[in-house]
């Protein structure tokens, strides 16, 4: 058969594309549940890690089940209504009744999105834990933001200086002394700076809530379904039924 005819070429490419499309669609269909579950577990694990839980998740026999159990044990999904926006906030209640507030972070790194979770003690200024992740930062350089060596530096830093929101800066060398500074990653300056910008903008969204509750210890009780902040009636913490998620 003459494989150089136009008709043959067109029919051949059509069939090829259809076959490939079917294979890929099938693969996507078959693997989707597993992939989505991986993503959901990953999110929950990050939230747990931001409050320094689930440390031994990798040792668990059945990691997904372990994460699900830990998550439902400690974490409550909530949200704040800030003007027209609804901002998610996760509340962690430890066995000793300590409460931590977890905020989701998202920003732009060097090559793609970066995100993370950061938890605050109930004074809403002191960082209790942080965890970062990225889509495609350079391995060994910017990608190091996802290591505990980087994220553990945030523990016990404060985001408020008196009443002023200062966030946490990423600086070069010798930052261990500052209350609002952490060490950047060598060779990962752009990603490190992106983390700084992400903290500033994402925590910034919650600023009214943070300011209103700054140093209020203990803060809003978790068990109440709706808490109206005395200083600003537009701010609500809505308890979301966790079973729906």
């Amino acid at each position: 058969m003459d494989t150089n005819k136009n008709l043959y070429t067109i029919v051949y490419s059509t069939i090829l594309v259809v076959v490939v499309a079917v294979v890929l669609a099938l693969a996507s269909y078959l693997l989707k549940d597993r992939q989505q579950r991986n993503v959901a577990i990953e999110t929950k694990m990050m939230i747990l890690k931001s409050v320094n839980l689930a440390k031994d998740a990798s040792k668990a026999d059945d990691k997904p089940t372990y994460i699900e159990q830990e998550y439902s044990k400690y974490i409550t999904d909530s949200s704040i209504t800030e003007g027209e926006k609804t901002l998610p906030i996760y509340i962690c209640r430890m066995e000793n009744q300590e409460k931590y507030y977890i905020v989701k972070l998202h920003g732009a790194g060097l090559w793609g999105p970066i995100w993370g979770y950061i938890s605050f003690k109930s004074d809403l200024s002191t960082i209790y834990g942080a965890v970062f992740a990225h889509k495609g930062e350079t391995p060994g350089l910017g990608a190091e933001i996802s290591t505990s060596m980087f994220s553990d530096q945030f523990i016990d830093k404060t985001i408020f200086e008196g009443e002023n929101f200062v966030s946490v800066s990423v600086v070069k060398g010798g930052a261990a002394t500052g209350n609002h500074e952490v060490d950047a990653i060598s060779g990962g300056t752009i990603t490190s700076k992106a983390v700084e910008a992400m903290l500033k903008s994402c925590i910034g969204d919650y600023l009214n809530f943070f300011k209103a509750n700054l140093n209020n210890t203990p803060l809003v009780p978790v068990s109440d379904s709706t808490i109206v902040n005395p200083s600003d009636s537009t701010m609500l913490i809505n308890q979301i039924d966790t079973t729906k998620n």
């Binding site: 051949y12 490939v20 693969a27 996507s28 693997l31 992939q35 991986n38 992740a133 350079t138 391995p139």
Partner: protein
């Protein structure tokens, strides 16, 4: 015959050190051992199966759209590998991120299809593809070994250089930051090529 197809790409016709193909990803993913190993496996699977599939249909491919057909097949395999990694090896797939998708641009794959699979039967093509992926993987692992050990002081994520040696802890040692940058990989590849050529008669050019 078959044995030669498998042995040659590993040493005498190594895709990286002799043919100097697939350099881009060799520089990109070799800062750590684990992503390098998964990358090597992924590339081996893609080169093997793309050569096999193209060889199966080699007599039916219209010559004018030959390259496009090859690309479609390779792209399909790369997406499959990416999807499977996301479903079954989520952690590593996150580390490799964009580089899995970039396997399609790896010159070794198209190179082997053009040079071998189009003119040979499926089974030898499969072996040729796998062997080339393996030859590529060997260099990747060697590079990652050196770069992770001297760049981060770890191997496969496990601390090798004692922490007490570091100057931060009062010792004398510092990680070599240059090792985790791409130029270090290029220099290391250059050194490997130099050593291999000096000791292999067949490769010495007149």
């Amino acid at each position: 015959m078959d044995k030669k197809i498998f042995i040659e790409p590993i040493f005498l016709k190594n895709p990286i050190t002799v043919l100097v193909l697939g350099i881009c990803s060799a520089l990109a993913v070799t800062t750590k051992l684990e992503p390098a190993i998964v990358m090597a496996l992924s590339v081996t699977i893609v080169t093997g199966f793309s050569s096999f599939i193209i060889s199966l249909i080699r007599n039916t491919i219209p010559n004018r759209i030959r390259i496009i057909v090859q690309l479609v097949v390779v792209a399909m395999l790369v997406i499959l590998v990416d999807q499977i990694l996301q479903a079954y090896a989520y952690e590593v797939s996150k580390q490799l991120s964009v580089f899995v998708g970039l396997i399609i641009t790896n010159c070794i794959i198209m190179g082997r299809i053009e040079a071998f699979a189009l003119g040979n039967k499926p089974i030898p093509s499969l072996i040729d593809g796998l062997a080339n992926g393996f030859g590529y993987g060997l260099i990747l692992v060697a590079l990652a070994f050196v770069r992770e050990l001297f760049g981060s002081g770890t191997l496969y994520g496990i601390q090798i250089i004692p922490l007490s040696w570091y100057s931060a802890n009062g010792g004398f040692y510092e990680n070599n930051g240059f090792m985790i940058l791409p130029p270090a990989a290029l220099i290391l590849v250059g050194l490997i090529i130099w050593v291999q050529r000096s000791f292999t008669k067949e490769l010495i050019e007149k």
